[in-house]
């Protein structure tokens, strides 16, 4: 078990190193620091200003290790900074990136955590219900509605909900954020509604398939033969065996809650990490974008290790070796 965890962590570290290499290639060789500087300062700045800007942001070293510069190069710096969480300053407006991330995490979680729990709370009972009524019109209706729901672009959900709920019905403000717990619900209601609507179709379809696959197994037939009721079969036998595929999806989603939601946050004016990322995209802020990708993959690798370990808990057949 311990040996397994250690091996898994080492592999995870390897993947993170791979991600950093990929980011280096993308952000330092495909686009050179000169390009970045020109994007931040403008096309017609004198070379001296560009050199000055590069020095300020620590982009003034040679790219690759070479004689006399085994540590004084961008590749080494890139790894050193990322691995020590010293993300430096934004390319666009010089604010420290760590500071921004710290400020954005809270608002992101206030949106994504309830969204995650509510989506699960709606999707799993709904798909159990649909799977329970398999091969009846309820099931068929459920599938058709799911496919309809997942065929609508999330943009349309956002625009539609903002227009309908915010401007015609005037139930909630169409955008904004406030850390006061009394007000926050009013601001979160609309993004939560949109988030659930946009995800529910795909979720129900996925969970239904998982539940149905388990419902057709031999041990479910055994349970019926010993006189188990259908409800009990669903809850005790089908659901428990479905936990393995469900866990993969659910646990892997948890780390990304910290990343916020790009679309919902920027549409509804929630100052979280998602909105920060969108600002970075629109302002050509490569350093912020690079950092977000890195943090995202760190969280993913962590989530994956947790998922693998959790298999051992829900499935007695899995032995972690």
């Amino acid at each position: 078990m311990l040996a397994y965890v250690i091996r898994r962590v080492i592999y995870g570290v390897g993947v993170v190193f791979g991600v950093l290499l990929f980011l280096f290639v993308l952000f330092f060789t495909v686009t050179s620091p000169d390009d970045v500087a020109r994007k931040a300062l403008g096309e017609r700045v004198p070379p001296a200003v560009i050199e000055q800007w590069k020095a300020n942001h620590g982009y003034d070293r040679p790219l690759f290790p070479g004689p006399g510069a085994w540590t004084e190069n961008m590749l080494f710096e890139h790894y050193r900074r990322m691995l020590t969480f010293d993300f430096g300053r934004s390319d666009a407006d010089d604010t420290p990136i760590v500071e921004r991330i710290r400020r954005g995490m809270g608002p992101s979680l206030t949106l994504t955590l309830p969204l995650f729990i509510l989506s699960l709370g709606v999707a799993i009972p709904l798909s159990l219900l649909v799977a329970f009524f398999r091969e009846t019109y309820i099931d068929r209706l459920g599938v058709v509605i799911s496919v309809l729901a997942m065929s609508v672009s999330i943009l349309l959900y956002i625009i539609g909900a903002q227009y309908l709920v915010g401007r015609i019905l005037h139930w909630f403000p169409i955008s904004g954020f406030d850390s006061d717990p009394q007000l926050i619900i009013r601001f979160l209601a609309l993004p939560l509604l949109v988030g659930i609507m946009a995800g529910i179709g795909g979720d129900v379809r996925f969970y239904r398939t998982v539940f149905l696959e388990e419902s057709n197994t031999d041990y479910v037939r055994t349970a019926r033969a010993k006189g188990c009721g259908e409800g009990r079969i669903m809850a005790r036998h089908v659901f428990r065996n479905s936990l393995i595929p469900l866990l993969t999806r659910v646990i892997l989603a948890i780390p990304f809650l910290f990343m916020g939601s790009l679309l919902l946050e920027s549409f509804f004016g929630i100052p979280g990490l998602g909105a920060i990322t969108v600002d970075a995209i629109q302002g050509n802020d490569f350093s912020v974008l690079r950092t977000m990708v890195y943090i995202g993959s760190l969280l993913f690798v962590f989530g994956q290790i947790v998922t693998d370990l959790s298999y051992g808990l829900v499935d007695p057949r899995v032995r972690l070796e």
Binding site: R224, A225, K226, R240, N241, V314, D315
Partner: protein, 329 residues
């Protein structure tokens, strides 16, 4: 006394490309208390579907279209779903061909037997566990105490089948339906399971409906035999009737082609042709296309059962019209 189980005209259909196909077609069966009836036939002849129909566990999109299944005079097909659930597992229990997949992989085996007991009897968990321990000992699971808390994947195929049998017996059913209980097991384990079923049947005096294509097991275990071909019962009789005085051309062919019963040194005769698929079933006798004794009515009319002896019936036009003698050849 009335028979324990009486099946009349049971018909179970599955949708085909040209309308519903009767995979089980007008089956008649009758079982006395404490009797072992073997339902014999090739794979795909509808014997498993017959068993599942008795339990009302026909998988969708299949449906029981007609007939009666009388258990102690009560028609199971008329029962409400909840009433039927009370019958399943308590009055009649079933074990399956695939012990590997028939147990829930994430629940301890003891717990699965306890669930079966507590579904039908108001006993405490501890009492049920105690009963489970006795059952494990009765079905010959070594070290039963330790085996209560293992998961199915930690047991061998033979032990899993023993757990299945323990689960089926846990509520003292009157009728045990054993659907190919030994097919998926090693030959040595097969013999053990057959002996176990034999002992349990004698000690408990229960009835067993044994579904198999293995004539050796039929010979060892059964009191009476029903032979099924392409969805219909073609011959019923005592074990001696079937093995010594087989009358239906199909039964004769089946016995002649069995290596266990054949004389050494002879070439095994086979039945010419292949089993027709349900889509190609003729309106008459379904064996007609392969039968040496086939004549006009065979292709057109479904043969009714003709008694040829005490409790020995044959569904064959040739026998009914005296063209084929009961003890011919």
């Amino acid at each position: 006394m009335s028979p324990l189980l009486e099946v009349e005209g049971l018909t179970t259909c599955f949708p085909g490309t040209r309308g519903p196909l009767p995979i089980v077609d007008g089956t008649h069966l009758s079982m006395e208390r404490g009797e072992v009836l073997a339902l014999v036939g090739e794979s795909g002849c509808g014997k498993s579907m017959t068993a599942l129909s008795l339990m009302r566990l026909v998988p969708k999109p299949g449906r029981i279209e007609a007939g009666r299944v009388l258990l102690d005079g009560r028609d199971l097909l008329e029962l409400r779903v909840t009433e039927m659930r009370a019958v399943r597992g308590s009055r009649m229990a079933m074990i399956f061909q695939e012990p590997m997949t028939s147990l829930n992989p994430v629940v301890r085996v003891g717990e699965q037997v306890v669930e079966a007991i507590r579904l039908h009897e108001p006993v405490s968990r501890a009492q049920a566990r105690e009963r489970c321990l006795e059952l494990f000992a009765e079905v010959g699971i070594p070290d039963p105490q330790a085996r209560l808390d293992v998961y199915p994947h930690q047991l061998s195929g033979g032990l899993k089948q023993r757990v299945m049998i323990a689960m089926a017996l846990s509520t003292r059913p009157d009728l045990l339906i054993a659907d190919e209980p030994t097919t998926a097991l090693d030959v040595t384990i097969q013999a053990q399971i057959v002996r176990l079923l034999q002992e349990l049947q004698r000690s408990r005096g229960m009835s067993i409906l044994l579904i198999t294509h293995d004539l050796g097991i039929v010979n060892e275990l059964s009191d009476r035999v029903a032979v099924m071909y392409a969805g219909r019962i073609v011959e019923t009789g005592s074990r001696v009737d079937i093995f010594r005085h087989a009358t239906h051309p199909y039964t004769r062919g089946l016995l002649r082609s069995n290596p266990v019963l054949a004389a050494p040194g002879e070439r095994l005769p086979e039945i010419a042709g292949v089993v027709p698929s349900p889509e190609d079933w003729s309106p008459g006798c379904r064996f007609a296309s392969r039968c040496r004794h086939c004549f006009e009515p065979c292709e057109a009319e479904v043969p009714g059962a003709t008694p040829v002896g005490e409790g020995h019936g044959v569904a064959c036009h040739a026998v009914a019209q005296g063209r084929l003698e009961g003890d011919a050849e």
